[in-house]
Amino acid sequence: MKNIFRWNYVIPRLVVLTCLLLMLLYFSGPILKWTLIATGKSITTADVNIKEIKTDYLAGHLELIEVRAANPKKTNTDLFRFDKCSLDLNKNALFYKKLVIEKAEITGLQFDVERSKDGNIDDTPLTLLEQQLKKIGERIADQNFLRVIKAFKELSPEELSKQLETIQTANQIAVEWDNRFQNYHGRIEWIKQQGQAIETRIKSKDANVLNRIDQYAQAALEIDQVSNQIALSIKELDQIDELIQIDIQRLDAARKRDEQKIKDLAKLPEFSEQELVQYLLGEEIAEKTLSALSWYQWYQEHQFDVEDLPFYEREVGCIVPLKSAVEEPSGLIKELSIQGSGSHHDQPLEFASVIKNVSPNPESWIHPIACSVRTSGAVNASMHGTIDRRHDQPHTDQFVFSLGQLKQDSKQLGNPSELLLQLSPGMGELQAHLTVTDGKYLSGKVTYYQPNTSIGCAIPQDNPLAFLQPNINQVLSSVNELSFTVNVSGTSENPQVKVDSQFAKELADRLKVATQQQLFALQQHSIQQLNQYAFNQSQEVQSAILGNQQYYMNQVNLHQAQLKQVQQLIASLKDPLRGLFK
């Protein structure tokens, strides 16, 4: 019976396999290098270079020499580069299908270093977050004190004259009385003409007696009509006093409404401390928030999720969880220490960072991801972060930043066409506590303090608020430090920023008092003007109407007397029938 094993086949192949394994052990660097470069390019969407990889699988040691990754947003610079990265693997965990890095160390790490060639491999458009945050500055800058400027403009005499009901009512009353007196004038003219016509006809003495009888009869009727009209006119002219009182009341009611309107206009503008500080610091803070949150979003987008990887080509079924002999999760970096250097305002700085417990399946590891960074040199800063994904929900990520001796250049806050504050250069301190829940919901506080600061103010002369400049400068002369607190809320895609500042509060209070004083004076002046106008209008209307009333009354009385004369004339004429029957 032949042996079941094909030894003549197995032995040479075992030798070849052993050689292959030995080659893998000692010459796998290039394959690993290629794999890491390809993975790095897919993550950063920019060029990645690795000079050399040294492997020692028996010792569980791996070294990456001179690694450079281009910045996808600024491809002529490196996002980061480091001289050496050494990894110490837990060999025992590998037997149990787990990749555990006991200790990793990166030295000579640098950020934003210029590249010799452009590292662009992808034109990635602005993310939604970036677009949203770019709008924050514009959005909060819109909440400026244009409202206050508008109020001042509305209280100007030119604008007020267009809006005040008193003026409109006075004009309307004048037109009404004009029409009314034209009507009186027409009727009195008619009375006058009728009287003259009757008198002319009576005096003409027609030769025909019968005709004369008819003329007298007709004249008597017409005299009755004219007399009635005279009586009506007198009655109406007597009622003018009542009408005047009604119109004066209308005018007074309109004046009262206008007075209330002016008071309301003067109430509207308020210098909200919140709005003012957002107006002044909005764009600055939005830029800083953009920078911080875009990095957090980058982390979220590129965090390694083991569940996203295909397990088999035929994905049916699931893994039954079993307790491993090794308690660590399937992938874990227990400790990663990073040392590097950089610059801030052309001043060198050094930093050291330690990141612990990084795992693609953090829920199966007892410790949360913890990271801490310390810098020295140009900037004294520290950052501590905890990313806790040990439970399904809610995930809580916490970050504490502390920046001391942060050099700040001279700055301009606000809008040159409205209100501009000029800040002197100085050194600032920044503290931030941020919490991100479920990778989405933001909450936290950022405080900034800059001592030994002087602030100046400029408002264009054509601005209605130019009168505020002395007040503001008076406030600012006592300000020798700048501090503000930013409350962050909302979501990582749509962050909300609320800024509070003691300096802005003082400024807002002073501006509020100044504007209110100015507005009160303007209001009092406007009301005084209004009352004067209303009084003058009343007087003018009253005197004009009464003058006209007297004139038309005289006219009516005159024509009434003339008509009586005509009546007497008719009565004095001999009876025409007497001549007829003579």
Binding site: R6, Y96, G317
Partner: protein, 170 residues
């Protein structure tokens, strides 16, 4: 270089001609079935593949069978997942799986995946029946196929077979 290549081909084809019994081909089909059903990318599949090379079975038949049963495996994955799930989650076997999983290298087999376990069990269960069923089929088909192949000069040249060898095989 060309001669070396031809010699290598001859060596492969000589397995069909000289050193290959009906039972070896049937066993190759059965083991190939196991490999075909098994999801790839784990230590079990690798072990079965190494076994095919190491055992005195017909390699060509084994990989042809693996190829064919890969398609069948896609259809039977649902059943295999059910079987695997039942076995892996059976309380009486839990400690066994736990011990096995805590053994070095065993986690690389992915045996705790229901599809892997199910296909492994189905493969072991059907291995002998497939072997037995294959024997008469191979007995019937092999002479016919060999005759057909020997009609081609290329095959005869590459296999390096001559007439006496053909008669011996028949």
């Amino acid at each position: 270089m060309v001669i070396y290549f031809i010699r290598a081909l001859r060596a492969i084809l000589s397995i069909f001609v000289e050193d290959c019994s009906i039972k070896q081909i049937s066993a190759a089909i059965a083991i190939g079935m196991m490999l075909g059903l098994m999801p790839k990318g784990n230590l079990l599949a690798t072990a079965i593949a190494i076994g095919i090379f190491a055992l005195r079975v017909n390699i060509g038949a084994a990989f042809l069978s693996a190829f064919a049963f890969s398609f069948a495996g896609a259809l039977t994955d649902g059943i295999a997942a059910g079987v695997g799930g039942y076995i892996l989650e059976h309380p009486s076997l839990h400690s066994t799986w736990q011990t096995l999983y805590a053994t070095p290298f065993v986690p690389w087999t992915n045996f705790n995946h229901v599809s892997v376990m199910g296909n492994l069990v189905l493969g072991i269960l059907f291995c002998y029946p497939i072997y037995r069923i294959s024997i008469p089929i191979v007995t019937y088909l092999k002479p016919i196929v060999t005759d057909r192949l020997f009609q081609y000069r290329v095959f005869r040249f590459l296999s390096g077979a001559d007439e006496p060898a053909k008669e011996e095989m028949a």
